[in-house]
Assembly symmetry: C2
Homo-oligomer: 536 residues x 2
């Protein structure tokens, strides 16, 4: 029945030029599961230290330098095998982010296995003024999870147990170090799914997701972590365990303190446990890809999808031809359309009734073709094709990573402004003489992102790092974003990459209150220093 109904759908769509795409020969599968480690084999010598690369960082001399006695003490907590000490090779992966843009000089990684151990470690570090960087899957893009100087890395990878699951309410509790994809696969067997999904799912930890308030591909449908996280267990900088592991959907008893830790990037505490509301896994998932002529059309397609696909819409992603060409430069993505178009939109629906969803999607796609909003379209016919269409969207990050240099931005703004920003940046770089000529350092400006969230991933690829380029981009881009009431960091966070620019998105009153909050919770400033908030 499944196949024949699909044929019917296909026939109806074929009238309008929308095709199921042919199952061609094997394509290069872009495995998102290993993105975060795909560059980790490069030699350490190639990666310069953050403190050298970005001048202005000075080690805070209030922090004690690690001693042999300290290491001996930590061994009493985590055991001989629970730490990595003074071993450059083994330390490298913890000192360096996966993009190899940031690198710290830590001599010690601690791998506690329980919340109690995390608490004991923090109590000691606070007493001794030893600075600490909490680290999850280390898949971040802003240098938030690696040290700048000699901060101790506290890795959560040893806290990786699922604690409980309530199959009536769909509420999951788990250690913070559980890998997102592992949790999602585990829930799949129970008919549930994690309410967030992102490219790095094979490596990132749920604790890190929450500490960075990860958004990702399905925020449009399942909302932000501020809504889905029901409880947290957090170790405060002085070692106090804050047990707020509620498994209730409703609980109005006092300030919702856990919210402060969602998106706090390890600066006021270490998330060790998580309680999260998980939605039912949809029985039916459809994915369609559209080719469009303008960003105007992308917006029209989005607006109409909100009306016609409404409750089953689970993703609405876009990219431009430059992103596709960048992908093709470094890999061989599946050819799913005969022609190329200036814009692409990937639409995913998830629902409980395949027939209903097919009908809604078919009607929507027909309307898009008839109204001239879309130029071409394909609909995935099975799980494999769904993955193939998604792999197009998910391949850009890895492809860009193969460029000699890439300036990455993650900004949000009102939807109509998104592509104006991209075009303006291209012109600005051309005017500045760094883009558009044969010997220009900038080779391309690539755009993709989550239309539904007003979230643009703007990537400026270059054949070398060039001060002229950086100076043309920043603060120009941040000023542009601020002028349009946008955010300089939609989902990647601040880390060391954006902290000094916070003033473009938050008022002095807000920043002052943030600093008061930080000082209250971490008076010695030992948690993830040199990051997040501006230094001055």
């Amino acid at each position: 029945m499944f196949a024949s109904r699909l044929r019917l759908v296909s026939t109806r769509l074929a009238l309008h030029g929308i095709k199921p795409f042919a199952i061609n020969n094997a394509i290069k599968v872009v495995s998102t599961a290993h993105i975060s480690r795909s560059y980790a084999t490069k030699s350490g010598k190639q990666v310069s230290y953050t403190a050298d690369k970005f001048p202005g960082y000075v080690r805070n001399e209030n922090f004690k330098k690690l001693t042999e006695q300290d290491v001996e003490y930590f061994k009493t907590i985590v055991g001989e095998n629970g730490l990595i000490y003074n071993n450059e090779d083994d330390l490298f992966a913890f000192n360096t982010d996966w993009m190899h843009k940031f690198r710290g000089k830590s001599q010690l990684v601690l791998k506690p296995k329980t919340t109690q151990q995390v608490s004991e470690i923090m109590k000691y570090c606070n007493q001794e003024r030893l600075a600490v960087v909490p680290q999850g899957g280390n898949t971040g893009l802003v240098g938030g999870s690696v040290p700048v100087f000699d901060e101790i890395v506290l890795s959560l990878q040893g806290l990786n147990k699922i604690r409980s699951f309530d199959s009536v309410s769909g509420i999951l509790t788990a250690d913070a170090g559980c890998v997102l994809e592992v949790l999602d696969n585990w829930l799949a067997e129970k008919g549930y799914m994690m309410p967030l999904d992102l490219g790095a799912k094979g490596s990132c930890h749920i604790g890190g997701n929450i500490a960075t308030n990860a958004g990702g591909l399905r925020l449009l449908r399942y909302g932000s972590l501020h809504g889905t996280v029901l409880g947290l267990e957090v170790v405060l900088p002085d070692g106090t365990i804050l047990d707020n592991m509620s498994t209730l959907r409703k609980d109005n008893t006092g300030y919702d303190l856990k919210q402060l830790f969602i998106g706090s990037e390890g600066t006021i505490g270490i998330i060790t446990g998580v309680s999260i509301l998980t939605p039912h896994r949809s029985k039916a998932v459809n994915v369609a890809l559209l080719g469009l002529n303008s960003f105007e059309d992308v917006q029209k397609a989005f607006k109409q999808s909100r009306i016609e696909l409404s409750e089953i819409l689970s993703a609405f992603e876009f990219w431009d031809i430059n992103a596709l060409q960048m992908f093709k430069k470094h890999a061989t993505p599946k050819e799913v359309m005969q022609n190329e178009y200036p814009f692409y939109v990937l639409i995913e629906t998830s629902g409980s009734n395949k027939d209903h969803d097919d009908e809604k999607l078919t009607t929507y796609l027909e309307n898009m073709m008839v109204d001239g909003v879309a130029e071409d379209g394909v609909v995935a016919q099975d799980e494999t094709q769904i993955r193939e269409l998604w792999s197009l969207r998910e391949g850009f990050t890895e492809a860009l990573g193969k460029e000699p240099a890439v300036y990455k931005y993650d900004i949000s703004m009102p939807v109509p402004k998104i592509y104006e920003c991209v075009q303006d940046m291209r012109q600005h770089l051309r005017n500045g003489g760094v883009f558009g000529k044969e010997d220009s350092p900038v080779t391309d400006v690539v755009a993709y992102g989550h239309v539904g969230d007003g979230n643009l991933h703007l990537n400026i690829a270059a054949n070398r790092l060039d001060n002229r380029v950086s100076e043309l981009i920043e603060p120009y881009l941040f000023e542009w974003v601020a002028k349009h009431q946008g955010s300089i960091s939609a989902e990647h966070g601040l880390g060391v990459a954006k902290n000094e620019f916070l003033g473009y998105s938050k008022s002095p009153v807000m920043i002052k209150l943030m600093k008061t909050m930080k000082n209250m919770l971490d008076p010695n400033g030992i948690m993830n220093p040199y990051k997040y908030l501006p230094s001055s």
Copy 2:
């Protein structure tokens, strides 16, 4: 087509005993729009003062007593007409909650019209140590929005303008004093709706909803305000305006400070502006009512609805026969089923395609009848019947309000425990000798609530206030809830009614941190004193 398709659906359902209910003669319409004022005509003399009724309250003598000079100063900010001073009759409605359980002794109500005026008022009050109670629609149930002693009432009703609406993203910005229903009606014309709905919608303010983290009838579908509120404008206790009116779905730039004010019940600042994500108004809404034999069956019906109705499920409410009988005692609800059942479930679906939704609901209802989960069922055939079914659910609060005395509780816990709690409480009151005999003070124990949220509204009706009853209920009920990892306040908040019991739901570490937070933001303690956090 609409009617004929409905007939088809009806025929299919009729086979299983599920009927569209007949449009009978006019029923008493329970208007929820006026609930909050329905008792305000009672004479003030009947309502005793909070400080007399609940002994233990002592006026904090650090607070200055209001002087004529203060009043003159406030006139320079809000004008002669912007305040009510020393007029018992006019002050009554601001000093008293709508249930007439709590009553303060304020001599002054201020009605600013702008955020700037709120700021000037707070700056002065903070300098002068004048205590302040922010007040929205005054529809709360825990005494949070009325004074205990002579605190100045700062009413937000003058801040009632819609600021902006983005019809692509569905993001609304508005003054905090806008009435929820007014906003919802305004959005209806644009094809959108507010993401929350509750019985008091005709009076409550959006600012008050956020200050109390209101849950209500559709949290199941649209999630908590922690997820849907995108930005807030807040006047801090010292008059500082915290402008966090973001209209972005994604913004990871620093601690999400606005979250602290969601559910803070006016104790750390006054919400003056709101930015909120609103969903598309559904084209199709269905409401069905089921009669069931046990709470086991209620749970089965719920679990199956999550699977079969999934993305279109927008409410799943339950009540017991006692609730229905209480309604019938004070009003004449529509008779929609021939027989009575121990339990009722109201199911609402909202979706973008009426045919699809009807089919899903019909299949679900058929399954419930065939599997013997439901004993009887009716499906609303039009808007009027939808309202009639909802009015059943919404009538309990008003009916209970007509009892001589009612002990109201709003608790959350794992779904399977909900009715165990009710039965246990009945037995406990019987054992205590206050329920079950002809001259017992307790006349009934009535239960209804939001199954999907694990949220029970437990109401103990009595023919008089009786210390034996209160002492049997509290802390027994709170201990019961704590033992089952529940919350002593699911959605109503703490106010003066629950603050001393916070320890049943939050650990000493959590409460200590809450107090630190309060002291940091309101060092003089002038904001909504005597409430929210425990005094010791």
